[in-house]
Amino acid sequence: MIETNILIIGAGPVGLFTVFEAGLLKLKCHLIDALPEAGGQLKEIYPKKPIYDIPGYPSVLAGDLVDNLMEQIEPFKPTFTFGERAEIIEKQEDGTFLVTSNKGTLIKTNVIAIAAGLGCFEPRKPPLSNIVDFEDKGVEYIIKDPNFYKGKKVVVAGGGDSALDWTILLAEIAEEVTLVHRRESFRGALDSVDKVVELDKQGKVKLVTNAQIIALNGTDKLEQVVIKHKELGEISKDVDHFIPLFGLSPKLGPIADWELNVTKNAIEVDTLDYSTNVEGIYAIGDINTYPGKLKLILCGFHEGTIMVQSAFKYIYPDKKLSFKYTTVTGIDGL
């Protein structure tokens, strides 16, 4: 079991900087994030976009800001659980929390800071009414082991790099691969696009553009997809697997079940210390709401800074806390 002072749910910029401010107070942090790496939407959605309103940086690429934050918090030795989602929060008799991830990881913590931004990033599911019925019965949103598709008939849908790359790879493994995309051109890397077009010419891949999947059929498992082509109309196709690759989108997920006051997908907090209605649980950054709230990274940095002061007093009610500038004390790592 992992033990920590502050469990930060979400390893985006605000969660990361909070490690720094907590570290100055000698509080240890563990971070959990559903994504496979730190950075949240800065890494997932816009790593190459410049940000202009980080104080002291006239311009900084989102991805670089995350790298810098990781360097800045390194002395405080944060620990991470990536690729897992915080699922269940239980308050223990001794006042600590026990948090269980969707993969069963247990984390014991004094306080919880929810810095979950927009929520958890999850694969976008096509709006087909019965798609849930076929999940793991022929519909997969993530390819874990390509060899799973050996000798199978597969339909991939999407127009980005992952759809193109997996189509190329599966062409060597699966019995038959069809790539369905809503328009003629692809947004993926040019050489991947050329490769797929070439494989189509060689008959190793069937490329169907100007088309979308509109229905799934099958009894116990997926047996058929219906493709709607702009000119040719509806085409039924027998398949073993359908792999929709439409990127990720954020969902509030289990946060809604934690008995917190939530309005419009955001957690209500007291601006005194960004505490929620549950003692010991705080919410900082884009996930919280209060009168005058602005969803800005720099506001999240402030919120995390104020929050750790309150967390310290919650964890050590009898200890005196004296505020010190880093210019005076430097960085004394954990």
């Binding site: 976008r124 127009g159 328009r183 947004r187 439409f246």
Partner: protein
């Protein structure tokens, strides 16, 4: 009125809202819908990096063609039609007078 265009936005329940949009505030269609508290998410803030302001253009307005970035993002949306656009990529200008749009369904 000067500096104001009238736009009709039909929400997902089929209710049409007549809204007045200022042309001098550097706003776009996603932002004006949000300011009227219509159910448009605009998750990415207007960078054409999500598809949560997906809408259909119902009237015959001559809008600028979608950029590659916008088309790429529409690839990740669902219920995409020929008249699909991302509201965040349509700036509010005088040319939009009388524009009619419908919000696309969400997943």
């Amino acid at each position: 009125m000067d500096g104001i265009v009238n736009i009709k936005v039909t929400d997902r329940e089929g209710v049409t809202h007549e809204i007045e949009a200022p042309t001098d505030m550097n706003m776009n269609l996603m932002e004006i819908c949000k300011s009227y508290e219509l159910p448009v998410e605009g998750t990415c803030g207007g960078m054409a990096l999500c598809a949560s302001c997906h809408m259909y253009i119902l009237s015959e307005h001559n809008l600028s063609k979608p950029s590659d970035d916008e088309e790429d993002m529409l690839d990740q949306a669902f219920f995409v039609e020929d008249n699909s656009r991302l509201g965040c990529q349509i700036p509010i200008t005088e040319d939009l007078e009388g524009l009619e749009v419908k919000l696309a369904d969400v997943e």
